[in-house]
Subunit: 204 residues, 2 copies
């Protein structure tokens, strides 16, 4: 292994912005407006970067978008890993997981929608980088849900005839559909009741 030459300490004016924070701010803009409807000035305003800095740091709009999308996915999967943690009761986990969707779907949260669903609808099939991310996200989500359902089944908590993998596919469709219908800003009451009725079909 070649000796690692220590990175030369940067001299002069230090980097004064946090790239990760900029990605997160950009994510917020793409989330609210969508990819095509987001213009450079929107991103500059949100990240508080100059054009030059933004292009030096991220290359172009598309690359920055992918960074933002990756961040969004990472946050979502991390949340799922917490909600559906193995050490927790799987049914409680699924309830917590769905409660998160109730939250994100009601009122103003619902209006804002979901960056991932919006991206799937806007870009999937026309942008290979996006395609990969969308497909792998849905697979990851399905796997986590299927795992939780398997554990629930092992604990005898699933309704007779429910098979974890296909139930997981159903559940993924259901929650992503909530994100679509959520754009009409349904009340929390209705969202919660719908989720409860859904779980009643699968949980004993």
């Amino acid at each position: 292994m070649p000796r690692q030459t220590p990175a030369p300490l940067p001299r002069g004016r230090p980097r004064s912005f946090d790239a990760e924070a900029a990605v997160e701010r950009a994510m917020g803009v793409f989330w609210s407006r969508g990819y095509h409807a987001t213009a450079l000035p929107d991103l500059l305003r949100a990240t508080k970067l100059s054009r030059g800095s933004l292009y030096a740091a991220f290359g172009d709009k598309h690359s920055l978008f992918l960074r933002a999308l990756d961040r969004y996915v990472a946050i979502a999967l991390t949340r799922m890993d917490i909600e559906l943690d193995h050490r927790r009761d799987p049914v409680d986990g699924l309830r917590a997981y769905l409660a998160g969707y109730v939250d994100r779907n009601s009122g103003a949260n619902g209006r804002r929608g979901c960056l991932l669903v919006a991206t799937a609808m806007e870009l999937a099939g026309r942008d290979a980088d996006v395609d990969r991310r969308i497909a792998s996200f849905f697979k990851a989500m399905e796997a986590r849900v299927a795992d939780a359902l398997s554990r629930a089944k092992a604990a005898g908590k699933l309704t007779d005839g429910v098979e974890p993998l296909s139930a997981a596919r159903i559940l993924v469709c259901f929650v992503e559909g909530m994100r679509v219908v959520g754009k009409t800003a349904p009340t929390r009451i209705i969202s919660q009741a719908t989720v409860d009725a859904f779980l009643d079909r699968f949980i004993r």
Copy 2:
């Protein structure tokens, strides 16, 4: 009531294009590309209209889009009215309805997605004309499904504990979610199996 002066017969070169056909062609473009990503030249190519004719007939891009969206909604609701016709067995109707989604979600059809879902994600919350259409479509869809489920319940074909209205809300989320996941072009086999497993939870 004032005497209706008969509309003066048009003289000169007759209208040589069919506005409804143009709307339908425009619908196809918006459907494939989304609102923002559709540029005027795309619409001119698809409708085979000149710029002048298109603006004279439809006003502007946004108005043409609304016409296209209305057409899309009308087609979808007409199809539902056939599939869920009162004179038909409601369970058969629901199966036919879901079979349509299997078809639209698999492979290339899935990749193309759904104009309504794409529009909801791209424009809802930022375009009042769109908001109204999206909300009223989901309500109309929910009402038709709830009606079919009510008839199924009356015929004793629903699983115990299934309440038609909330089951309809679940089903709407499920099918719209299929449209999202469908962007990853799942196989027909999996889509069909998922739909079957879904119905098994509700139909006795």
